[in-house]
Symmetry: none
DNA sequence: GGATCTATCTATAAATC
DNA sequence: TGATTTATAGATAGATC
């Protein structure tokens, strides 16, 4: 995209292709990171590259493990409508719960502000000690709110019309046959995965 | 990335966030497409947004499933740790968010101190009315404000426009960088993970 | 091959419709 | 809201070491 408008076609030159891959992969990951940060969404990407072989984890292994388990579950979801629906319901629930959390935080901030102002103007009370102790109370209450909310969402799930399942994949019959797959397989390369938890 | 340098933090305004998501999702998918075409790699991307019941995938469900299927066959890693059930998944999630809540509230206390000082200087209160303890808090916070300001000025590119003299606490739905940053640090930013399996 | 450096191209934040 | 426009920040092709 510079010095020349890019010709959107497979780059025949090996080294040029490799260079482009490295640059663009970096840019892509940054974009994913930004999207995730700006919009607060869960996202992940998987790619087979013939250039990378060693497992690389960022920022740490445990977070990666959890996401990868999700990935692993995914294909199995196809086998059962119930499972797929269950999964999507959970996603929705989480989204709703997070919305609520956000509201609670906003409210809480307002209340704290008022309290602080009041204390300040009244000239009594110790602000530093006030919040620390009440902190746990606030968090605990939030926790309870969320949990009860989850419970109510769970009870209501049967009523809600489930979204359509993902298309089935023919698991048994074919290994993938694209040139890329074949190349990747023959090279014994592993897919690179990145995701946001 | 235009009209203004983007503030890399969770977008508090719901409609703005949604609009940004739509635009950037489109851009990301285009980038994926280009990378795939130019470098001939096999890849897929999945995004869980609160705007769609089903995750949005690139290039399409079946291809993504195929890649995931491949991925699933990858040895050990997944097998090593037992699957988390749905319930504990949500609990984990909530725990994480609550950790962030605590952090947020702590940060908010810092902002409160700043605000207290402002109030006093504005004549709505008097320094004399503060206890010694409160005074310490105010002074400490002001010190931190100044220091962090110095830090950001040091590492920030000279191009970046300086933030307002002192960070104000925003109670309402403000779009100020301060409030935005704060909330984003607590809620928006997630760790990015990528790995080869 | 990889790190750097620009000149350009592209993505996109805000504004406007 | 969503589509369109516009002005600018950001990504990156090709060159150079």
């Amino acid at each position: 995209m510079t010095r020349k408008k890019v010709n959107l076609a497979f780059i025949m030159n090996d080294s040029a292709r490799r260079a482009t891959y490295k640059k663009r992969k970096k840019g892509l990951m940054k974009k994913m990171d930004e999207l995730s940060t700006l919009c607060g969404i869960d996202a992940c990407a998987i790619m087979y590259s013939p250039y990378e072989a060693q497992p690389e984890v960022w920022p740490n292994n445990s977070d990666a493990q959890r996401v990868l388990q999700q990935f692993k579950r995914m294909p199995e979801m196809q086998q059962s409508k119930k499972m797929v629906n269950q999964e999507s319901f959970i996603k929705q629930r989480i989204a709703k719960v997070n919305e609520q959390l956000k509201k609670l935080i906003k409210e809480n901030r307002g209340k704290e502000m008022t309290e602080v102002m009041h204390q300040c103007l009244a000239g009594n009370g110790t602000i530093a000690n006030l919040t620390l102790h009440e902190l746990d109370g606030v968090v605990d209450q939030t926790m309870k709110d969320i949990e009860s909310r989850i419970e109510s969402l769970k009870k209501g799930k049967a009523v809600v019309a489930p979204p359509p399942p993902l298309p089935q994949v023919n698991v048994g019959s074919s290994s993938s046959n694209t040139a890329n797959d074949m190349m990747a397989r023959s090279l014994g390369k592993r897919p690179m995965v990145w995701s946001w938890v």
